[in-house]
């Protein structure tokens, strides 16, 4: 009986303290609410509107018919048209489109002439994302009912398919570079998010702010050590991925390093912003989780960006992880260069600069 009284004393004390910590209390409600709504809508394996391009060498009424049919499936969004193969492959490398439909010059011959035993055309597919690849592979046997003279029994598919970058469609090839983005998000944001809060909690900050150290100096000094930690983590993940899971490292090291450094800087800045808002280390950790979950689920790590509804995509665009996910897969798997990925690179750099300024302004050197 006495034991029950003691337990209830602790229970009530705990609840009382919880209700005083507004942020934690908010998180208890907001975390399931927002995340559930977000991911309920966002997570979708039925991919639609995959950006693809077309190289129409035939330029005939038949080629236009085929293009219209493909477009009608709504699986793809035929947004680009290229003049030649080289142009099309470059677009895939840059990540502008996930696939290109090539319709050859002798399309008419293949459609109804003497070449009709050969496939009509070819899909060039960026196979670095398996879900997207599966959706595109379904188009191989796109029924073209009006195709004349084709014996029904003939087992020749309508289109030939070439899988770029991950022809065996092995999962690690897609997951390992993505994992790099997730792990860096987790550790980098958490480290810096707790860094200044820890000094606040332990009272070190009261001493620091009476010294001549400037806010920006403090922020930069807090970030730099973690950059090295981030680089070490990157080496471990990509090194192991390459050695154990045979993930190809197609891009040049310098560009991998460049992309990673940009992302590390952006993530650390994100952590700093959290750290100027949070009052306790617990709050900082909760806010990190709040950023981490969408970084895993919306960034394209587990579910393709193309499959998400527009609002979810807009949220994803604000997360550094989404941009790094594109960059690192591009550089590591498709041998893309940083200048091919300049939009994402610019986003990360601007995020860092704006974030650093915001954190510096938010962090006053006073106790007001």
């Amino acid at each position: 009986m006495e034991s029950l009284i003691r337990i209830s004393a602790i229970v009530f004390k705990e609840l009382r303290q919880l209700s005083r910590d507004r942020l934690t209390f908010g998180m208890v409600v907001m975390l399931p609410l927002i995340q559930l709504l977000l991911f309920g809508y966002a997570i979708n394996n039925n991919v639609r509107n995959i950006p693809v391009g077309v190289v129409d060498l035939a330029q005939s009424s038949t080629s236009r018919l085929i293009i219209d049919t493909v477009r009608a499936t709504q699986v793809v969004d035929l947004r680009e048209s290229y003049l030649g193969l080289q142009q099309a492959e470059d677009a895939i490398t840059r990540g502008d489109v996930r696939a290109v439909l090539v319709l050859p010059k002798d399309l008419e011959e293949r459609w109804s002439g003497k070449e009709r035993n050969r496939p009509l055309g070819q899909w060039l597919i960026d196979a670095s994302d398996n879900v997207v690849t599966s959706a595109l592979l379904a188009l191989r046997d796109l029924p073209l009912a009006m195709r004349t003279g084709m014996p029904a029994s003939q087992a020749i598919p309508n289109f030939e398919v070439t899988l770029y970058f991950n022809p065996e469609r092995r999962t690690p090839v897609n997951i390992v570079p993505g994992l790099l983005a997730v792990i860096l998000t987790m550790t980098m944001i958490l480290f810096t998010a707790t860094a200044i809060v820890r000094e606040k909690e332990r009272g070190n900050l009261e001493l620091l702010i009476t010294t001549p150290v400037r806010s920006l100096e403090l922020m930069l000094g807090k970030i730099v050590p973690y950059i090295f930690i981030g680089v070490v983590q990157t080496s471990i993940i990509l090194g192991l991925g390459h050695l154990v899971f045979a993930v190809p490292i197609n891009g040049p090291m310098l560009h991998i390093l460049g992309a990673t450094l940009m992302f590390i800087a952006a993530s650390l800045t994100f952590g700093l912003i959290i750290s100027t808002i949070a009052k306790t280390q617990l709050q900082a950790m909760q806010m990190t989780v709040f950023v981490l979950l969408p970084s895993i689920l919306l960034s394209g790590f587990l579910f393709p960006y193309e499959g998400m509804p527009r609002p979810a995509q807009l949220i994803a665009e604000t997360l550094p992880a989404t941009h790094f996910m594109r960059m690192i897969r591009g550089v590591v798997l498709r041998d893309a260069r940083l200048d091919d990925l300049s939009t994402d690179a610019w986003f990360l750099c601007s995020f860092t600069v704006v974030g650093l300024i915001a954190a510096t302004l938010k962090f006053h050197k006073s106790l007001d």
Partner: protein, 312 residues
Amino acid sequence: MSTLAIEARGLTRRFGRFTAVDHLDLDIPRGVIYGFLGPNGSGKSTSIRLLTGLLTPNEGTVSILGLQLPQQAEELRRRIGYMTQKFSLYGDLSVIENLDFVGRIYGMPRSLARARVEDRLERYGLTRHRKQLADTLSGGQKQRLALAAATLHEPELLFLDEPTSAVDPENRRDFWEKLFDLCDAGTTILVSTHYMDEAERCHYLAILESGRKRADGTPQQLMHAMGATVVEVLGPNLRVVRKQLLELEGIRSVAQLGEQLRVLVDDKIAEPIAWLREHPSLDLRQYELNVVRPSLEDVFVTSTSKSDAGPR
């Protein structure tokens, strides 16, 4: 160059509806040890934070070492030192690493920093503990380390917020010797405390209560200007006598110290012993009554009990 280290006029700071510091005026000359004496919550720490530029006042003006706050706060930081109430160096760094860090934060050249660190280790008896983590130091050692860090850049003005609250009496004496050494070398020191023995060592004192300055001057002046006579009462049943005394008009405070009562009688009563003996509601025949020298605690009690009517 102004001869005052600190000059404040009408300094006021509110937190919501609570006024922590209420129209404080200060004129603190250079080269002295100036004490803020007051109970917990009297605004000592807030005043120090206002004077160091850590907090912005709601009203009033402050000039420290001839610099205006808050406009010249950054410039001032190089010339003042601040020792926080709570130990604020890094517990997971060693003594020498902490001092090294502080030296670099103040932008000292390597050789100068090294020489100063060695000097402080020597001066504050930390040479043997140089490699020890700060968290494992004793209360007194931590205090000396904090003082070493606060004086590493040789500030002209040093703020100490309850510096010896976690230190035993012997270490406290020791610590004060160091403060007098610093003062002798020209440093102005402002120290807050709620210990009488500590306050008594200051050249000048300001007694704070509820954010207001109740009295100021040298400890001697304060004792003379107390406005009350101290009467010691010896005898049995002191708890009962104390209650009776507190009922009387003209009694400022009654405190029991072992086998005697320390009674503060208002100055308006010219002959306190006769007055007490002849008072109709008292029977002090079997008691011994003596007028004694006031202590600083008596000063403190009289100056802080003027405002609120509640019994002390």
